[in-house]
Point group: D2
Chain length 415, copies 4
């Protein structure tokens, strides 16, 4: 650990909470250099939905390298890019009756969000973007301007502009946040300009595992249509099957104008992101948004392989079944430990327990790490213990993980 | 190509200029799916300095995957991260008597620039950053605000703030751009606030292969010191040996407060970036800047291997010798084709020929592509033919490339 | 009228709604060049609270000019400035147990608002200012950024920054706007930074005669104290006795950190404004805010005379009695004409009737003008008929005015 | 003075430099309450061009009040407004072959500048405005964003946007500031967007009495025409005859798209401002810019009277003769006191002496005040002694003033 402390910038964070050196990972397990095994309830913050080192992906990636496949290619045409495009169209878009142009905006979540904001502003000729309380969309200035967290925002070092923060679903008790938003939009004296876009996560991952109700999402889409506002769904964390369907918004039956995908889209943990844009909004000039790493062919190879999970409904059903198990486990914990004043959050395999006492969630996660469970907090005050196991985890893994969690809570509450 | 046209967003650009599908690459050569061979004078816009598919890197990366090495790890401690940090310190920093904390800001050039701007603003408590005409620093809103190109800036869809554009070296004929900058800084009525930082590329890659004179760089550092301004060198394209030394600023003997590295730092073409920060400026709070793909272990593996090129001075000398060959080749072309009104630009293996007639450079590059040479334009009007061969290219490769270029120019001028 | 149409800019507005040329005014009456008499229910948008051409003010102003009194003096010391300061302290501040430093920020409402925003930002070191839906604070960029009206905001030609619009009292039916504001302030993930100040009008004049409830004002003050936010009351239109007390916020018992006064503070209709700042917040450097017309001595002469209305409680009581008459008149109209779907708004001598049908309020005011009543609309859709008679109006005047209004409504509804 | 110290805000400035209480003024003289007489070389910072208490203006203003003339009228039609419009057209515009729509933007300099910026942005659909080093355009956020002084800018408390500061004429020795500006405009990679407008003072009053050369003004106009940029001349201080012609730009033969006038336009020292807009640019919607004090009828009465000075060329010739006397006096002082290292600045009756030693100009002005001369400093470091006598001053007054100045310099240099 001394290496990190001495050579790396003070900005490092995970290596503080999980003070060890990892070197191996497979499926839902990780190992550190001492050989200690960890159950993964974190999945690279939603990047390892298909588990670590999937055998087929490993093999395909290795083969590609062995054949001197072109590794880096900006947005040049390459075979892996072509195959990814075709498979994504065929396996994901067509069966869902969705029609999108696919953009490679650079390989990170914040790249796709920045590209989404740009195209929405270009298409509408407007500047304001409405985002929601406790949203997290990324750390570059454009994405940060639609992010809620004050510590992150303050880090910008400059005031953040061209965005307005509106209350997410259930933000104020007994208040309808849609009514509030609607009033601001319809009143020409509201002080909020007609926005280019509304950007949202259907389940806020970093903001506290806040899941919007299905009808709330539907009403937002309706408002967008009524005022000709583009709807951007940032599915970077909640997409790729995390909530039980490939896109998190499928149960709502909505069709966002722009969709941001990253994290698990690459399948194997390699940097990759795409932006989906309705054909009528694809008004980019060539190269109007660019970037060096838009052609990460190794990621495309693995990404294409990952799509095979979605060729039929089996995987989806499996994830939904595990989601029920997770939900039960969460309820059990909350009932068993009333001292937590725990509140269940989330949906699919993206759930959490909000606990009241300040610092308690952090303590629980630290204890869990000691016991071999990788689990992280979320929320503006780190008040939520967040469960994001790889989607491929089995029942044994879920149970083992929850046993470690139970032990940790028990220990922390009684020490 | 139909796949790209039909499925991909209109934003794609390289696949328009080089309309083929690539699938293999080795050293300084690429092949498309028809088996056609191309000489690479582009090197992934400076990402493939060590050539494509370096044997040792291939082997190390494959081995790591085969051993179930952890692929994705945010900023958790991992073995490859540890080894990269130690080697970078030992091979790069220590021998150059440089002392920097190393930050992993996310895996792209724009991530490192955004992190550099943030820390400069935090450290100084100021907001303005001075950048230069024809600078290119990236496409997210923070980086775009210090980028010169009006097409790219316009793409933001919002006005860009907290930055001031000053004339780069030799911007106006017979005018000393340092005198101008100095006057704005010393005059409290200039309308330009004391900036947090000055950010620059020593050789502007996208802006037209404009190489600042060594004494200009030294004067900029002097101004920074006089007014307590942080100096940020964006060495994303010009660094990693491109100009003949590891850092492009070494010949000037300056010590920037912050250095941005990306592109070839990953060695193999995988997304990676680092930000170097003088220890006294490393004032980050934990997680104040973060991102999902800061732990691209495959990139770290290759990056560490790439550092071995710098264990002694041989590689540096080799590159400098090739730079002389390139310089001669450039002069020869300019003299041979007076109709070009060609102007030599750049230094090291980062050179170019500016041609006067609008559209001519683009035509030359298109013709070169037909003949099997990958070479791209640069500059605000795409008026520069830009040569960025992999540093590992041999004389045969350079000569063959220039022969193809010569043929292309000849053809274009006479058709 | 041809002169105005041909020579004046298209921006002119009142000369369109009241297409005549005025030349005389006395008390609550105006006359045009044809000798036609008008009852004034407008009072120069709240500037003529003491009526037109008050005899004593006329005499004092004339005397001063006749004696070659200095007319223009920036912020130099002059006798009228001195006397105003002393009288304002003695007659207004001391009896109300208020302690403020008095600033002359330039002679218009927007000057005082801009100065208030500046000092709040300087004192707190913060940038954001919270304003409210349908607020109107002025037309220069700083004031406009805290103004709600989209037509006015759009006129800026640039995005407006550093402000956040929150719901005014009763903005969304059955929703407690304080709960929203409180939630945004207490939640560090809300996306709204801790503001420098909250700025409000207790009764929104331009925004539709929306009167905040007394307890709402008290809760706002409480929130400001809890989070160390400066409270700015813009009393430009609602102050100077308009609502029945000198300051409009007196019934709430609150003590704003900064108060903006203009319009009737000058007594006679001459440009004047002051900014009241709690001594502990008076952190200005000399000349940090300045302006050529901060020394309008004729205005100071009349302003000092106007203060004599406040030497005892008689005037206050008188105004409150007339306010009751106005309230009754408003109810009577609403009941008499159910077709209006009228809603009573406001308090003191600042009341209005909101009517449902679009364009109807404008039609009523146009008809009233024909019949000799000067009355204007207000609100984001010009949906409110707004009554702002001079405070010195007598019962006869009020009755006559309302008779003309009644006739106008009757005519408009039945034509 | 105690009244000002105790009751007024710390922002007051002139009452510090001239610590007395003025009460009378006539022509080019002022008197304080002790009866001490002062020669006026300041003219209300350019507001009292026609001297204090002009007999005819006094009489007209008094008559108007005595007749119960309407005092305050927003932008309603009134007789004084009508007469001002007609006279301004006939006496000022028509003889100079200028065609402008006249706008009343509110009664201060910063109001007219804000309106000019707005209309330029609306007409062009662009956001950036180019201003110049050491410009002063006003203290509200819009005007401040095009003002150079860092102390004033810092007072905004927020970063100032949508403006770019370019070097004024002669800003950097031996550098052609037009060449810089031209390069930034023609280069699409300059980082400076095509601006909506260029705003300038022909002689910078607050910035140090910097007079642009006539050919510099002509070249600026040419650049504006070439790129379809609006040219705004802020003639608030240099207009109204101050430089020897009614508009300061007349000798250059240019025709700005927008002209800002305030200060002496009111003739008598009462707040007034107008914005002149070429008819083709008068794209305002009714009320898109408004303000309570746009109908200051007393100012219009005096302003109309002031225009009579311009009915023939006599006044113009007189001012130019006095300008020559002033020029000679300035040279004499500079030669007589080589210790000053004095530099002559300005043109017309707007001249100054820049002195090298820090604080010296302030000392000279303070001493002059003691001796009965009102004269102020200017420039970013208060390094210029600035002479702005009323235009109606006679030779005796000029000589007497310069005698007092000479004595003061002599005293200060030898004490």
């Amino acid at each position: 650990m001394k290496t990190f402390e001495e050579l790396e910038s003070a900005v490092r964070s995970y290596s503080r909470g999980w003070p060890t050196v990892f070197n191996k990972a497979k499926g839902y397990k990780l190992w550190d250099t001492d050989g200690k095994e960890y159950i993964d309830f974190f999945a690279g913050a939603g990047t390892m939905n298909y588990g670590h080192n999937d055998d087929t992906m490993q093999q395909k990636v290795i083969e590609y390298i062995q054949n001197d496949g072109i590794i880096h290619s900006l947005d040049m045409g390459t075979t892996p890019r072509k195959e990814f495009l075709e498979n994504f169209k065929e396996i994901i878009l067509t069966p869902r009756k969705l029609d999108y142009k696919i953009m490679f905006p650079g390989p990170t979540g914040t790249n796709t969000v920045e590209s989404a904001l740009k195209i929405a502003r270009k298409v509408t000729g407007r500047e304001t973007v409405i985002s929601f309380t406790n949203a997290f969309h990324g750390m570059t200035i454009g994405s940060l301007s639609v992010t809620g967290n004050s510590f992150k925002r303050h880090g910008a070092g400059v005031p953040l502009h061209h965005s307005v923060s509106m209350p997410f679903d259930n933000y104020v008790e007994n208040h309808d946040s849609i009514a509030y938003l609607e009033r601001f939009l319809e009143d020409s004296g509201s002080g909020v300009a007609l926005p280019a876009a509304i950007i949202l996560e259907t389940v806020q991952g970093e903001g506290g595992i806040n899941a919007a109700r299905i009808e709330w999402l539907q009403k937002i889409e309706e408002l967008c249509k009524r005022w000709d506002i583009l709807l951007i769904v940032d599915d970077v964390q909640a997409g790729n099957g995390r909530t039980g369907t490939f896109f998190s918004f499928e149960p709502a039956g909505i069709e966002p104008d722009v969709v941001c995908l990253s994290k698990s889209i690459g399948g194997f943990g390699l940097p990759m992101a795409i932006t989906l844009i309705k054909p009528e909004h694809d008004k980019w000039g060539p190269g109007e948004h660019n970037g060096t790493f838009r052609g990460n062919n190794l990621a495309f190879i693995a990404a294409t392989e990952a799509l095979s999970y979605w060729k039929n409904n089996d995987f989806e059903k499996e994830v939904q079944e595990k989601a029920e198990i997770l939900k039960t486990a969460v309820s059990t914990i909350i009932e068993k430990y009333p001292e937590l004043n725990g509140e269940a959050r989330g949906r699919g395999l993206m759930q959490g327990i909000a606990v009241e006492e300040e610092g308690l969630a952090t303590e629980i996660c630290a204890e869990a790490f000691q016991r071999g469970l990788i689990v992280e907090t979320s929320g503006p005050k780190d008040e939520v213990v967040k469960f994001l196991p790889p989607l491929i985890i089995d029942k044994v893994g879920l149970e083992k993980g929850f046993q470690l969690l139970d032990d940790s809570i028990n220990y922390v509450l009684n020490k």
